[in-house]
Assembly symmetry: D2
Homo-oligomer: 345 residues x 4
């Protein structure tokens, strides 16, 4: 059994990690920290985890660092404070904060109003999408798990950009997310049930923090400039993200070619599923899972490519992907402990 710590264990990402790892056959959850609920047990805070009587402790990086692996689900700026110490203590880390996602330290002041305190680690961190960085992740000391939107966008876009099938300077990503992405501690009016129910709205138009991750990762795959317009929307559901992606195909690239590109790239991947022509994915297919569903076509009236990517923002978009990375780092089968398909409907 491998000792694993979770810091930030009672946010939505943390509790999903507990759910998955408590049943993981090769993991022992040895240390769970919670700023809000230190001193209580998991099952008292979240009664649906009736069998998880583990204690929640105050934030203590030294204790976490004694574990083999630390999964970090703390807010932006919180990870960079403790990751160097964790690594020094010999732990390996999967961090889902943005603190190690961007390779250019200069982007942090601009997008997160934070100066980076350990920029030397930015180049070391592996970007935590296993389908694109499996080997780096497997041997990494530090994995930066991407945001939920970037995971969905990149799984759809990376193959098309890597094979040069779409123009990169004119990509539009229209995102629709469930509201659990807002987390549990930020009780704003926008997420108050009476206002969020039966409502749709755009937010942070043109300025969402997940944009630079998308640009960075696509830029690794092409020499062309990557420019993306990204508009996220809140829709009235708890979990799930659907991204509708518009791009200009390069000369000669038809719908079949785009679809074959995705299919070829994800052949054999256990969690990425490419749909046949004329089928478009539903967010409900991925709820509670580590699955991602992709579809692509070409709008005949304009010739523009339209791709749709679906995942669970707390699954493949967060905790599921972290466990997938952890499995790679532990050297066990990649799908271990990642549960069943979605409970539908």
């Amino acid at each position: 059994m491998t000792d694993v710590a979770i810091m930030g264990a009672t946010g939505y990402g943390g509790v999903e990690l507990i759910r998955l790892l408590h049943a993981h056959p090769q993991v022992r959850l040895s240390y769970l920290s919670s700023d809000t609920y230190a001193g209580e047990r998991v099952c008292d805070v979240y009664p649906h985890l009736a069998g998880v009587e583990l204690p929640l402790q105050a934030r203590d990086p030294a204790a976490a660092g004694r574990c083999d692996f630390v999964l970090l689900a703390v807010p932006a700026g919180g990870a960079m404070e403790i990751v160097p110490g964790l690594l020094d203590a010999g732990a390996r880390v999967v961090d889902v904060s943005p603190d190690f996602r961007l390779q250019e330290a200069a982007l942090y002041p601009r997008w997160y109003a934070l100066g980076h305190t350990c920029p030397n680690l930015l180049r070391e961190a592996a970007f935590g999408i296993p389908e694109w960085h499996r080997e780096e992740i497997g041997s990494a000391r530090l994995v930066a798990a991407p945001g939920c939107y970037p995971t969905g966008a990149l799984l759809a876009l990376c193959p098309l950009v890597a094979e040069g099938l779409i123009e990169t300077h004119d990509i539009i990503v229209d995102g629709k997310t469930g509201i659990s992405g807002a987390g549990r501690t930020s009780l704003q009016v926008d997420y108050h049930f009476p206002e969020a129910e039966a409502d749709v709205a755009a937010y942070r138009v043109g300025g969402h923090r997940h944009l630079p991750e998308m640009v960075q990762e696509l830029s690794r795959l092409t020499e062309s400039e990557v420019r993306i317009t990204f508009t996220p929307h809140l829709v009235p559901m708890s979990r799930g993200i659907l991204l509708t992606i518009y791009a200009v195909p390069k000369a000669g690239a038809g719908a079949d070619e785009l679809r074959d590109c995705l299919r070829g790239r994800y052949q054999g991947e256990p969690f990425v599923h490419v749909l046949p022509e004329g089928k478009w994915p539903h967010t409900k297919w991925a709820t509670g899972t580590n699955d991602c569903f992709l579809a692509v076509g070409i709008d005949e009236t304009t010739g523009r490519a339209v791709a749709v990517s679906v995942l669970d923002n707390l699954g493949k978009g967060m905790a599921g992907q972290m466990v997938q990375c952890l499995n790679l780092m532990m050297g066990v089968e990649e799908a271990t402990g990642l549960g069943l398909p979605a409970a539908y409907p």
Copy 2:
């Protein structure tokens, strides 16, 4: 009092018309037809309309034609069969089917798999968006009320196209709709509560029938070719549409200029509201009303204009707009009988 008939009175559009017109101070609902519920009373079929004891009758165009006005809410292909007779009988008609929206008869076989049986009326029909065709509607014998998506898209796009502020060959409309737009009689699995709840999905990608209306109406305002990629999505709410529109601004057009264009155009309009910089509309603001809320900005990273348009698909997107047209045709104050603002939340 003016005698008004509704044909198709028990669909969602019909029952919304009854709600509005039963309380209209200058209208008498003299004839209501329902294929499904002929022989019953409105209040028996829809108990929330407890005070509306009017009878529902079998479809009888001759009876409808004896009224001053006929509001048609019948399926595609149904209106073209009866409109000529209604006009001959001297009635004036507001039709919310697609049968008279498209000016080119040749588009009907392609988009609706229907041959048009009275193409001579296509040029006569006024396109029923009062903010753009007020005078024609006021004097028309036949008004073709537009679809819910086109109403929202056109209210946002027409001013920008008319003033030459955006390129017309590269417009993307990403629509999110509540499920009442599917109507009441088409009980498909996609609209079955357990499957539609907590779910988002795209549908009819690249092929929705509302597209040619959008292209036609924008083409009236420009000599450039109009090309639109339109992707509609179902979101888990009953009423409401939000359209996110992406377009390339013409050289020199900044966010303020785009916003001022919308504001100037809709100054004094009772139902179209343009939001200040940084505010984006919520569908819930329009629920149950004839209101439309618009916002526009420019995404700095790509320079692309992003506009958002919100309305109630059964309100300004259907029955509300029909009543607004009817008021113009009757020569009464345009907002008569159109109810209160939204019951929020």
Copy 3:
């Protein structure tokens, strides 16, 4: 025009009052107070009220007292502080806090942890259900509008108790409410969208504050002891209450007799609708309205009477009823300004 003030104008009850009264033909909204948004305009805080450019002011009872009527939507304990002054200033008051609902001052410490500061006014206050206290309300200086649950329960139970058709010592009220009843400022995790969506739970089992109102009002109608078990539940919708009421019919009282009792009592009432045998009401029928729908039957296997009462907690359960009371106090037609039936679906 009559000058009306609203204190607590930006809570859900307050904004519903503004919606209704801004369009009321005999009311001028002369003073609106908001602790949270003083200094802003209504349309800036609630953009869906685009036409309501009225200013929101700091709490100033003297300013409110210069109006003919004051509608109070402030929290428990807030009304008793200012009502005496308002009355002294000559204003008439409709208060939707609990401060004047209970006639026994001794109940306030027990149920609200408050000592009552003006107990002399408790006997003067009219209980604001027009269908049961129309004349008192019409001439009252002070009306105590009841809670949302008691309104629904009492409209169903009062006729049956008054006519002696049910036993009063063994009544069960099982309530299901939409979440807007929790108000807007109390942003608790229980009302956070991701947790409240797709969830049902009981709360305050056996101890909800609306219980003593129910007991008090029924006790006025009978000499028997009234005992009620009341269990409220949160269901995932914004507006609406459904109460399922179980009671033992007195010897000889059958389903028809119970139904006839309700029907006879509410004959001619514009807002209370009794359904025929075999029909049971839906909360959606009342959304956004001042309507209440009632049904009753007898469970054959046990002989127990089952009644169901439906209303909108912010409509007939709050702002709608307050406007109905205001109309009575102003001497205008009781339904003035109370809007259309529900926008369905």
Copy 4:
């Protein structure tokens, strides 16, 4: 590996069985029948089951009977036609239709308008709640899995009745269910998203078919007459049932005694969780799982016991319980293959 057949594999219960059993370490799904989708593969009908490429076949009891176990999820009346043949062929059966739940054949014409064709099997069938019939189930040829409501009601009531802590002639069960309980093929307007969203309503008041199961099972535990008033309600969620149960405690039975009774009875049970004083369960805790959460208290104002029971109608209320029974019949660990706790929120 044990060969298992599912008949009725593409309804909501069937697809949940596939989800659970496809990953079951000791089960091989050898035969799946679907009247609607025969000839297709599971993953084509339900794309979220991307890895399940098993074929769906026409209904063929002989083929099913060649398996060791047959799980039946066919409509009322369908099971009694094929169960005798399956048993003759040597298969053991878990049937979730009502066909073998009631021990008195005479109840079928009354509650299901069906004459029973193999009444001799009624006494043989084990009633499929493992917590109450573990040994019978383990050795049974035929298990009648109970309805979703009865499972929840009986888990709460059986201990209290068995120990004589409540009166049995005056029990009220007020049920709230998600809409997946209506199944997938019955596309009625009541389950159409626009009407079911944001709505609550009672249905089949006094006449729901799950009532006689509750009465029968409780009657086994007491010599007193059992009388239950059962009122089910639809609430706007897909999965989940909450039952609020009202009963009169017998003299001397306090809240602690009732709670201790439940706790003692379910000590060590993996799927039934009794909450401490003052905590009441949420349906969301059980979504997608085989868990049941129970709480009980006493309403001080009336002395009545109030118990709340929560489960997932498709989990412990259907497919989960069937798998739990199957495990007992197979002689493997009872929780095998029953998945993780709920994905919350």
